[in-house]
Symmetry: C2
Subunit: 408 residues, 2 copies
Amino acid sequence: MAPTRRTSRDIRSESRLDVLHALLTAGETTRNELARTTGLSTATVATVVSDLLTGGIVTEARVASGRVGRPTTLLRLNQDRGRIVGVDVAETYIRAVVFDAALDEVAAAEVAADERHDETEEVVDGVARAVDAALARAGTPRDGVLGVGISLPGSMQRWGGSSPVMPNAVWRHVDRLRERLGLPIVVDNPLKAIATAELWFGQGRRHSSTITVNLGTGVGAGIILNGAILRGATNFAGEWGHSLLALDGRPCRCGRRGCVEAYVGALGMQRTLEAVAPEHPLASVPLQRDFIGALAAALEPPEPDPAVTETIQRTARYLGAALADLVAIVNPETITLTGWTVWALGDHLVPAVRRSVVAEAPGDAAADLEVEVSTVRGNSVATGIATIALERFLSDVGLVTTRVPTAL
Amino acid sequence: MAPTRRTSRDIRSESRLDVLHALLTAGETTRNELARTTGLSTATVATVVSDLLTGGIVTEARVASGRVGRPTTLLRLNQDRGRIVGVDVAETYIRAVVFDAALDEVAAAEVAADERHDETEEVVDGVARAVDAALARAGTPRDGVLGVGISLPGSMQRWGGSSPVMPNAVWRHVDRLRERLGLPIVVDNPLKAIATAELWFGQGRRHSSTITVNLGTGVGAGIILNGAILRGATNFAGEWGHSLLALDGRPCRCGRRGCVEAYVGALGMQRTLEAVAPEHPLASVPLQRDFIGALAAALEPPEPDPAVTETIQRTARYLGAALADLVAIVNPETITLTGWTVWALGDHLVPAVRRSVVAEAPGDAAADLEVEVSTVRGNSVATGIATIALERFLSDVGLVTTRVPTAL
DNA sequence: ACCATTTATCTATGGGTTAGATTTACCCCC
DNA sequence: GGGGGTAAATCTAACCCATAGATAAATGGT
């Protein structure tokens, strides 16, 4: 019944990941502390740390303790093990971020992208230029790259199957990307990337079930259950932005009507402002980021713009109702909010959204739910997809058995 | 990060459950066949079968093979190991079903229930009377009962926590039920029960992710991911019937507006008929089962009632849109439909629902989705909750480590 | 130089699995 | 009646995981 039977190697793999997560959280720590943090015995921690030292993933520094007893050795992730690149392919830009092996950002580069970039060659070229520029900025030779993670919107692949079925367009992307970059790559979609960022750096470390919701032009949810990303049958899970808020409601970019995104995406918020005050000057701001920035500015004391305030209130209600659907169906412990709309407007949105979720969720399902702005900083898509690339690298060197989706 | 680390005992537990599921599916089988079915080695199957034989869960019958070679021993679940009772506490009835240890139905009894049965004593009394009547009908002494599973609507409990938080009303139910029945009991909600039935007897055996949707007075979804029931932080997952279909739409029984249940529950379908043909005689049929039965009758050839046909079409569209939300968020491989509305109207609903899901789901997310009537026969709530009771019994005798939610 | 203390490592023992050897129980044939 | 071939069932050595507690290492204090 379990589609993939777990073996004792999986147990060891989990132990290694637990130790790596504890190291990421602590920055530097000791074997005894790792035993306390992970619940593993000191013998197991010793064995796992030995494996990671041998693999060059972890380094140690002998530290005189300044007290009696055997001196303590501090451990940390080996930043110098190599570089990992995370690439966020969005609608209007392609951003490549170089991380060290401790997943600290080293350098970044961005190239503009035409929104009609479903032409394979243009995407491949843009990704290659962004990666090359970022690596140059980081001073990293190609042989120092452990892996490149590339987030492609809408990419879909059969998880774990022996013959993955993928839309031809995406297959061509992957093949061409591999040829062009000449580096080990892994491809996934942005929702899985942000979920991975939350799992490794955010609330996913502390909670069994977390949903991280991205608000921007597009809107979606990364779902973490029992310490793993929910991918779904076709790696499509989390497309909550295209679940219904209002049957036959507002037209959505996807061609359907009434989607959550049509109400709480940046464009949806502009539509809400148009409904509140059709002649409002902000209703005709053409660029979404400018629009959201202007909303934030319009809310500054001492005189917040009443139409903008009403827009925020309505948006909070729509968002609360949509999050209540996630609560009703998935019932997570926490929901985190991420994305550039949240950075700009979170202070205004979050308190109202919390109230709205509790009001809109059935029964008292949302009574204990925590809704908060994500603590994952920077570009969480790039961070997450780089983390997926690191996991893939660790899998390739036999340190973890987690099945990272293959871009064959 | 994994909330509960898996140990080698968990691996053995999974092996035992795999063997048990294979036995349930096959009825009777051989060790070699079990090895082929489960993928375990013949040595492991031998060890597992030995454990199950020792525990009296499985029996063997020597069978001459009629061919050369060592004769084959047939194995089957030991029906005589004891009896398990599954109790479905619904709004208007309490039904107790007695199963043997191979989960075949032996006898049943039903008592009427007042819809205002949130009075603890009335529920406890009704459950006790139903269980006593069913056991009498089965000729089963109390000491022959391995466990009683009781499905209580709305029951919630913290899964796996050391100090479960549960609404007081439900706590009182559990305490009083244990006192009154004097039998080992486990309590869960109907959505978890139907998911368990689908996992053990339906599509959950063959697919990694399945959602089983119950349509009746109430509407909800049992969610199976990676061979396990999705419970959620407060055991509330699957309340899809109270996710939104239409913001500010039809009033729902739960006090909110626009819930899926208000459109595709039995009462919702009657509201749809009222919208289609306000003077239709069926619009005022008072009892929901009578109404649904009358709908089915009105659809018989050669002259199906046009208003009823239109009602079915609209309902299929609403249901398709609501299922599309499950596809967008959870992305399962299959969706099965169950419940008395489905038994009565499935032939008319399912083809249209399939088309609607594909049309309403974003992109081609639903392209490969299978939507079908569940193959789990009988009362799937009672079957499922009895299966949970069997799992609990197996856990109590140390044969599985699966954490069945405790009704302490 | 020795002792107490603390950290790190080692070891025997517990759990799981499998490949392949061995045993068992049959049928067929001489 | 016995031997050979065959297929099922069982056993065994070797692999994986974990931990409790013993042992070793490295320090500071006396």
